[in-house]
């Protein structure tokens, strides 16, 4: 069984909603990514999205763009580096499932077959490729299935009648985009958000998770009632950005890690 399924089954039996933080790998460096993952598990994260830095992150807002730029500029982070973080975190004792979030080109350049062999061997349970809509995902989906890696699709408020078709092919959970636009903190969600989430719920027996623009405990709480998972990305990446001077100072490092994990712990409520 895939770890994502196990985690959602357990949460469901406990009547809980998954909190799924997103981190840009290698920001500020790979070892710190491993340490943050450990800290977030302790703070209550139920799964982690490992973000692969990319030169042209079309679906991302300024915060994650900046994190990607830093990771690429200072550390030349590669797809393989990000996947290795999963293995290192596992070796350090982290048990929660890992979901790799990557744009398609790095995967395509690495080679699909080799990529899935690697992903499987390093203990990654899920995969999100934001620029691979269902019209283009056939080959990836088949390979993912064979590797027991869940290809998690995105659905948006604009997906309309596509929701059913996307949900039918989904594995793991369905990622509902809370608002139009790119990732990033925002005050308002799409006007039809509740109706949209209800439509997705109707279309699938899989868990549904909501993400894009969720940054506070209040917002997490708002969606906990309707969803099985809540994804928080930019707000955490921004906390990390703010903590970089601390994280890079050996004496202050623990303080920095604590700031980040405290933020995630209060999101969890």
């Amino acid at each position: 069984m895939n770890l994502i399924d196990t985690a959602f089954a357990r949460l469901k039996s406990e009547g809980k909603t998954a909190l799924i933080p997103f981190l840009t790998m290698g920001d500020p460096d790979l070892q710190t990514s491993v340490d943050i993952i450990q800290a977030l598990e302790k703070a209550g994260a139920d799964m982690i999205e490992l973000g692969v830095p990319y030169s042209d992150p079309l679906a991302d807002g300024p915060v994650i763009q900046r994190a990607s730029e830093r990771a690429l500029l200072h550390n030349s982070i590669t797809l393989v580096d990000c996947i290795n973080v999963a293995e290192q975190a596992r070796e350090a004792g982290v048990e929660i499932p890992f979901i790799l979030f990557t744009y398609y080109n790095p995967v395509f350049q690495y080679g699909l077959k080799a990529f899935f062999e690697l992903v499987q061997s390093k203990g990654i349970s899920g995969l999100i490729i934001p620029d691979l809509p269902m019209e283009e995902d056939e080959e990836v989906r088949q390979l993912a299935e064979a590797a027991n890696v869940h290809l998690i699709p995105l659905v948006a408020p604009t997906s309309k009648e596509r929701v059913t078709r996307i949900a039918r092919k989904a594995k793991g959970f369905v990622y509902c985009v809370s608002s139009l636009g790119v990732t990033g903190v925002r005050a308002d969600f799409h006007a039809g958000i509740d109706e949209f989430l209800a439509t997705v719920r109707e279309a699938t027996d899989l868990p549904i998770a909501v993400g894009f623009g969720i940054s506070s405990r209040e917002q997490v709480a708002r969606f906990e009632k309707q969803c099985d998972g809540v994804i928080v990305g930019s707000a955490i990446v921004r906390k990390i950005e703010e903590a970089i001077p601390l994280l890079q100072d050996t004496e202050q490092r623990e303080v920095g890690l604590k700031q980040i994990s405290d933020f995630v712990a209060q999101l969890k409520g």
Partner: protein
């Protein structure tokens, strides 16, 4: 060759729709609207009327006699897209897409721009059709093309500076797509080249094919036969696709795309996507991409802001891999030389983009017999570049004061 693209927007292995899900419904609606209106006589009539009366088409196919004599080889004809309203071929596409946007009931348009030509053409059509227009332009390009920035503002458009990434065309495209994702419900994106997700590469090609359709008629009238070569500059590739497309099935007409080699293809400062790039996914489609071994897209460099782009339209990738067209690099220095030569021999100052096509012609024509015919797409005029050229040639702007 078979009809491309297929229903999935594929030109062989290339093209497709690699975009966030949020945009998919908008792309499908656009595809449907375009399929409908491209067969609608009233729509076609309106587009043709504007191309004719507003932009001044047909543009002339001009026999460049002095340049031909100077080079001493093949006869050179220039397709004078520089004579269009706003000074480049870009208006062919913005007229088509502007009228389409209006028919689709959209009141707001957005566009990306590199050199500013597509931005100006979009701002122009927005003014003409009464649409609200935002143009996204890299901060670096805004410095290089200040006149065009002001032109767009005069035309009533807002120019949005793009501060992310390379601050040039590549990131202007990213930012426009991001804005579109956020405002997809009421905004039409006028994409300026044969790039991006389906249906843009097909649609922009169709709106630009008038260049080739006219050239075909004109060269038949002048020479009684088709040309031996067609030469056009490629960045994203819209002027080249426009002039190539009606000749794709004429196997005796050689198609040559000229890409920007910047400071040289053996340096890291070039935009030679076909010469140095590999297959990859970039800004919505599969094509050739300048990238590192890990699939990170690399910044391009060219003296010409319009060619300063690490991708190229998928149909060009298809023409290259099938062997139907050839793509060659031309450096900044060669383009500058060609620009000066054309200015002096023909009294035509070409855009820096088009100067790349001229530069290739300078290499090609002398190797050919005098009975051969070369048609060069002179895609734009050089007015917008004059100030930058002064800088490149080391002319002191204040000398004459």
């Amino acid at each position: 060759m078979t009809q491309v693209p297929d229903v999935n927007g594929r030109f062989g292995a290339f093209g497709g729709r690699y975009v966030p899900e949020t945009l998919m419904t908008a792309l499908l609606e656009l595809e449907e609207a375009y399929a409908h209106y491209s067969k609608d006589q009233a729509f076609q009539d309106e587009v043709r009327y504007l191309l004719h009366k507003y932009s001044g088409r047909p543009t002339s196919l001009y026999y460049a006699e002095r340049l031909t004599k100077h080079l001493g080889g093949a006869k050179i004809y220039l397709k004078r897209e520089d004579l269009n309203h706003t000074g480049a071929h870009k208006i062919n596409n913005t007229i088509g897409q502007g009228v389409l946007a209006k028919r689709m009931g959209k009141t707001k348009i957005i566009a990306e721009t590199g050199a500013g030509q597509h931005g100006v053409a979009s701002a122009t059509i927005a003014a003409l059709l009464g649409l609200e227009c935002k143009v996204f332009m890299g901060e670096e390009d805004m410095k290089r093309q200040q006149l065009n920035v002001f032109r767009m503002q005069l035309l009533g458009s807002e120019v949005v500076p793009v501060l992310s990434g390379t601050r040039t065309l590549k990131d202007a495209c990213n930012e426009t797509l991001r804005y579109w994702v956020s405002h997809v419900e009421d905004t039409y994106y006028i994409l300026g080249s044969v790039t991006g997700p389906h249906p843009y590469p097909m649609m922009v090609r169709d709106f630009q094919r008038i260049i080739g359709d006219e050239s075909r008629q004109q060269i038949l009238a002048e020479e009684g036969r088709l040309p031996d070569y067609i030469v056009a500059a490629v960045g994203g590739g819209s002027n080249a696709m426009g002039i190539f497309y009606p000749f794709v099935n004429d196997d005796n007409v050689k198609l040559i795309g000229v890409e920007a080699a910047g400071r040289g293809v053996d340096t890291i400062e070039h935009a030679a996507t076909m010469t140095k790039g590999r297959h990859g996914i970039f800004q919505g489609s599969m094509s050739y991409v300048l990238q590192d071994e890990h699939g990170q897209v690399q910044p391009a460099h060219s003296i010409s802001a319009g060619l300063d782009y690490p991708g190229i339209g998928p149909e060009h990738a298809y023409l290259k891999d099938s062997g139907r067209a050839e793509y060659v690099p031309v450096t900044d220095a060669e383009a500058l030389e060609a620009l000066q030569l054309l200015s002096r021999t023909e009294g035509i100052i070409p855009a820096l983009e088009s100067a790349h096509a001229i530069a290739q012609t300078l290499k090609l024509a002398p190797t050919l017999d005098k009975d051969k015919v070369v048609v060069v797409n002179l895609s734009g005029r050089g007015d917008k570049d004059v100030e930058a050229i002064m800088g490149y040639l080391g002319v002191d702007k204040h000398e004459s004061h």
